[in-house]
């Protein structure tokens, strides 16, 4: 206490790093590969759905079928790569969509306050009072929603937490001098909100975007595992795992491959998300 403490060590009390850099690099490369898979996957759907009863249920390592085949004789490796699209594109859209809603309504609520804030807050309260998974199963299941409708539903269900985060950030920005200056110049409220205030909340949004992507990946694949939101027989990781249960003894790769991929993609996203959060905290933004 009495010893002179340099300001650096005194003010910067940081939690020590728990993750080495090489892990972050591997995660980035891995996600780039997955993105590549998602891009080529639409062109593989046809090849992946080629059935041949003679080749049904080959074990992994069979000639011509690295991961074996399923009970319809479809190649599991092709099927898995073809499933990348629906597994990854949906979650990315969900995270982006809910973030857009979050910025739109969160900024509105935090900047305008008043009845609008109260209304948006109450709607968020109701949506947040039930787990997303439960609501998604009930709504998408009862209406027999397809993939894109389920994605849309999840955008709406994910939005309330984004709205809250943006709102709290905007509340903190609103009393700052630059906002006052903009008001003095009588800029329109819309311009102040979305051109001046919203970009300053960006760090909060960026970390949540990645977190949401990984939660959406898990939620969406869980739903398709339960048979909600995907058509039977379509190439999808959750669906493939569900179908693979019955042939677990003959070809375990059928369910192990997509299960492992879901875990790895989600882990990679979380690793990068943690890294960004940490860097922002280091800069003192969060």
């Amino acid at each position: 206490m009495t010893a002179p403490v340099s300001p650096k060590t005194a003010s910067v009390v940081l939690p020590k790093r728990a993750r080495p850099d090489w892990l972050v690099r591997i995660s980035v490369v891995f996600l780039a590969l997955i993105a590549l898979g998602a891009i080529v996957s639409p062109f593989l759907v046809e090849a992946a759905s080629t059935q041949s009863i003679l080749d049904a249920l080959l074990p992994p390592g069979s000639p011509g079928h690295l991961l074996g085949t399923d009970e319809l004789g479809r190649d599991v490796l092709l099927l898995t790569v073809a499933g990348t699209g629906s597994a990854v594109v949906g979650p990315a859209l969900i995270a982006l969509g809910s973030m857009s809603l979050g910025v739109l309504f969160g900024t509105l609520a935090g900047y305008q306050r008043g009845w609008l804030d109260a209304l948006i807050g109450r709607i968020a309260d109701v949506l947040l009072s039930l787990p997303v998974m439960l609501l998604a199963i009930v709504v998408a299941g009862i209406f027999g929603a397809g993939y894109w409708v389920t994605v849309l539903l999840l955008i709406v269900l994910f939005a309330p937490s984004d709205i809250r985060i943006v709102r709290s950030g905007v509340l903190e920005q609103a009393p700052r001098p630059y906002v006052e200056a903009a008001q003095m110049l009588s800029l329109s409220p819309w311009r102040i909100m979305y051109v001046h205030v919203a970009p300053n909340v960006w760090p909060l949004i960026a970390t949540n975007l990645l977190l949401n992507t990984s939660i959406a990946l898990v939620t969406l694949s869980s739903l398709s595992f339960l048979g909600v939101g995907v058509a039977p027989g379509s190439a999808d990781w959750g669906r493939q795992i569900s179908d693979g249960r019955s042939v677990m003894a003959d070809n375990p790769a059928m369910l192990l491959a997509p299960a492992l991929l879901i875990v790895l993609v989600s882990m990679a996203i979380n690793v990068i998300g943690d890294q960004i959060t940490e860097r922002l905290r280091r800069k003192g933004i969060r």
Binding site: M1, V13, P15, K16, R17, A18, R19, P20, D125, V126, S129, L130, P131, V132, M133, L134, I137, V138, V139, G141, I142, F143, G144, S214, V218, T219, S221, S222, F225, L226, G227, V228, G238, I241, R245, M248, A249, P252, L255, L256, A259, L260, I262, V263, S266, M267, I269, N270, V271, D274
Partner: protein, 344 residues
Amino acid sequence: MSQPLAAADPVSPGAPAPDAPPRPRRGSPVLRLLLARVLGVLVILFVISLLTFTLMYLAPGDLVKNLLGNRPASPEAIAAVRAQYRLDDPFLVRYFAWLGDALRGDFGVSIRMRQPVTQVIASRVGLTAALAGLAFLIALITAIPMGISSAARAGTVRDRLGSALALFGLSAPSFALAILLLYAFAMLIPIFPAYGAGTGFLDRVFHLVLPATVLAMGLGAILMRMTRAAMVRELSADYVTFARSRGVPERQVQRLALRNASIPIVTGAGLILTFLIGGTIIVETVFALPGIGLLLQEAVLFKDLPVVQAIVLLVALVIAIIAILVDLSYLLLDPRVRARELQS
């Protein structure tokens, strides 16, 4: 947690605060706080009930066909079904009739099982409670100590291992984990039963070990990360440095820090509960455990609307009760909150 509740209980049914003679100063503000929260919860439950009812009203499918099958039915049978389920009444009449019955504890009759919904749910709720309880217990006794030891030795190999495990638990979807464990411990090394709930207490617990472990992995990951973050923050606080410089034993310092860290950890209860409910539906489906989750999943597939409605409300109620308990627990955990809430 039990203290404020016990203080509030004897006078709870609708009595406005001031007349609690034994401990008026302590009891009444807590009671007022509780009443305000309960009122808020009731409003939300009302809105949810209206929304679910609207949803069910809009749901596609023909209830009469569901009940009577696809064979041509006599007009009398159709009329009887339409009357029984009030299919010809206007929307609001149907809603308030349903709400009135629900308030009296009658949620209608399950379309699929032809039994009262309350009976169907009551027969399933025990298993789900046991599963969730066991999972929570496993998560609690593994994750909290891991979080503390990770925070105490932040940056070491042990911390990295712990954090990596938490990252895995957080990232792995329950169904993938469930199937991986099922593959490993029910097929490769057949130690545990693959499905079913078992009979008798010991057999039941034995059947629940694998599913509960799956749930506990995710739960524990959330708990561990929250504990670690909160403990790292507390352990770098001035009072800890001061306590250490005074020669307070490390164990005692950690206990002090844990008490302060417990507030952010308890705040995470909502997140944990959300995870638990989503996870239960999945895990019960994978392990074929006849609990509430599987019931919901089947009810959705069979369009058994009365059951779906009742489960959604039940879940909302449970979440609301936990939220209130969390609020009350701040009073126990944080003297500052206690002082602020009780003086005003």
